[in-house]
Amino acid sequence: MTDQNTASFAITQANALTCGLFLLSSFGIVAARQVLASIRIFVLQSLFLAASALLLGIHHASLHLYLVSAITIVTKCCIIPYVLARLVGQEQYACRELSQALNIPFSLLVAMILSIFAYYIASPLLVAGGNVFARLNLPVGLAGLLLGALALGTRREAIPQVMGILGMENGAFLAGISIAPDLPLMAELAAAFDVLILAVVLGFLARHIHQSLGSTEVGLMADLKEE
């Protein structure tokens, strides 16, 4: 085995590990029992996304993916948690049990079924084309997308719902770095900016809701429906 092959093998293995951890953190977003925990798990998930982008960047020798990795760390691991903490205030951050539409063991069961479904959807696509990275990143990214949607559907509290959306986007980006590594930088930057605005808008809305309802349990808001 030459040096290059060894290096490429090591990168593939490291990326596999990162993807595994990413999938685990997606489960964490579904299962976290406290607001603060769900934000911390999201930060971890974004770190794994950044790590995967870094590994792929080393493999493709692409400056572009390094930048993606750096942008992810700056926006998702630093700015977004800070902004949400500032906007939403300490009391929602306080550790407490979250109310859920489904209980946690059952959510985890659904999450498992969804991840198997993600592999089932992704495997015919990988026949059509796909390198060794896409083989992992695509199904795991799709699972991240579905699990984020599950978290969004089962949570009743504002901030965990936001984490669900951001987790969905992380899933899409995890797949994106493997199947579309040469997307123009302009689009990447705009998307990062967009995620930032998303966090700010939802943070502000959650704050308004807290001011007018006295809680951020958005699941309780059910005035608007047909009689």
Binding site: I121, L125, A149, G171, A180, A187, V218
Partner: protein, 483 residues
Amino acid sequence: MDLKLFLLIPVVVAILSLIPFPLAFIRSATLTGGLICLGLAAEISREVISSSGPVYSGSWLFCDGLGAIIILLVAFVGVTASIFSWGYIKDSTSPKGVLQVRRYYTLFNLFLFSMYAIPLLRHLGLIWVAVEMTTLMSAFLVGFGDTPKALEAAWKYVILTCMGAAVALFGILLLYWARRLSGPGPFTWQGLISSPTPMSPAIVRVAFILILVGLGTKVGLVPLHTWLPDAHSQAPSPVCALLSGVETTTVLYIILRLIPILSRLPSVHSDTWFMGAGLLSAGVAAFLLLQVRDYKRLFAFSTIEHMGIILFAAGLYGTEAGFGTMYQVISHAMTKSFCFLAAGTVLTAVGTRKIDSVRGLARAAPVAGAALIFGALAIAGAPPFAVFIGEFSIIRAGLSTGHFIATGLLAAFIVLAFCGIMTRVNRMVFGKPDENDGKGPKTLPVSNLAALIIAGIPVILLGLYVPEPIQKLIGLAASAIWR
């Protein structure tokens, strides 16, 4: 002409709105910006017609027949909504109120900016960002009233449409992958159509379904439509006119743009998906229409129904159906924005959104009553209004391509929706007014009337005769999409 101006002008006006000038200045700046954009849209349409092909500006922007139609619609509704806002968003003397009006106009212009960006941008990645922007910029416009209900609507709106956007992002990335596997080339609409080798149908199928579901959330397709009646009923009426009239249309534009790509890959069965999704939305919305108690929700459900009709027509994949689709896109945007302005007028006049507590508008508030019945007839599809002609040509195209059962169902849903809208509005407009409320009719602001008149002109005009430039634009769009 430089297409960048469309993006520059709203941003400049948005920045001006933040500077503490008198409110009248901000209002007139918004109106002037809107009028300039409308003029530019007319100019760009002329250029597109005379070159009968896309007009490019730099490597990021372009405009063709379909794009010109969307831009004209956005610019026109932008103008009527900014006139309507003049009297609807009240002047306030408290510093907090003034700040709120300023914020309204800033976001209003940024919202317009994001809607201009969608049809102008060439790169799909950037278009996705623009779609997210339309949600984020309009979130606080929906929650503008700051009441618990408005905040609930705004929260649902952002959460559901951003979830849809994330799903669509995955689809767009898959589409990029398919395009890259089939050979080098740019990831633009043109680049997707002219791929050197056909794209992999397996990948395109999944990408298409994800994009349809994701952007369908934003368009208001069933089953992810639940945010739409809430947001479109709680937002201030000029914002509703923008949301229902043109925001849904600009996102639908992206789905329409996929058609020339998908029709080259018959194994994706995109036509069945389009027709099925369209029929489902039209049907569910027509039944939901029958049990609403809020007249703004009535029009919101009608938006879902019309989006379904347009999607159905788009899925017929013929040039004749293409004409019908484009005609329906235009007439829906014009009529629905008028309807919401009329609903806003009624709300100003009577102060309630409940259908049951409004009676005899024709006597109590003649202008509001006349506008409401006019808008309702037009949107429900009574002749000789534009929507009638659009629906008629869609049904004819459906029958001539042999989709008898589906078209029959669609016709039944249209009739059902017609009855649903007309029975409600009839009760509100005619009959004896309630005497016991004791309040005299409120005088309507002049801007309100002006907006209604201007918005009403194309609603009548398009039903009687289509100006030649519009006809040419429709022809260009239809031949580019459904060739």
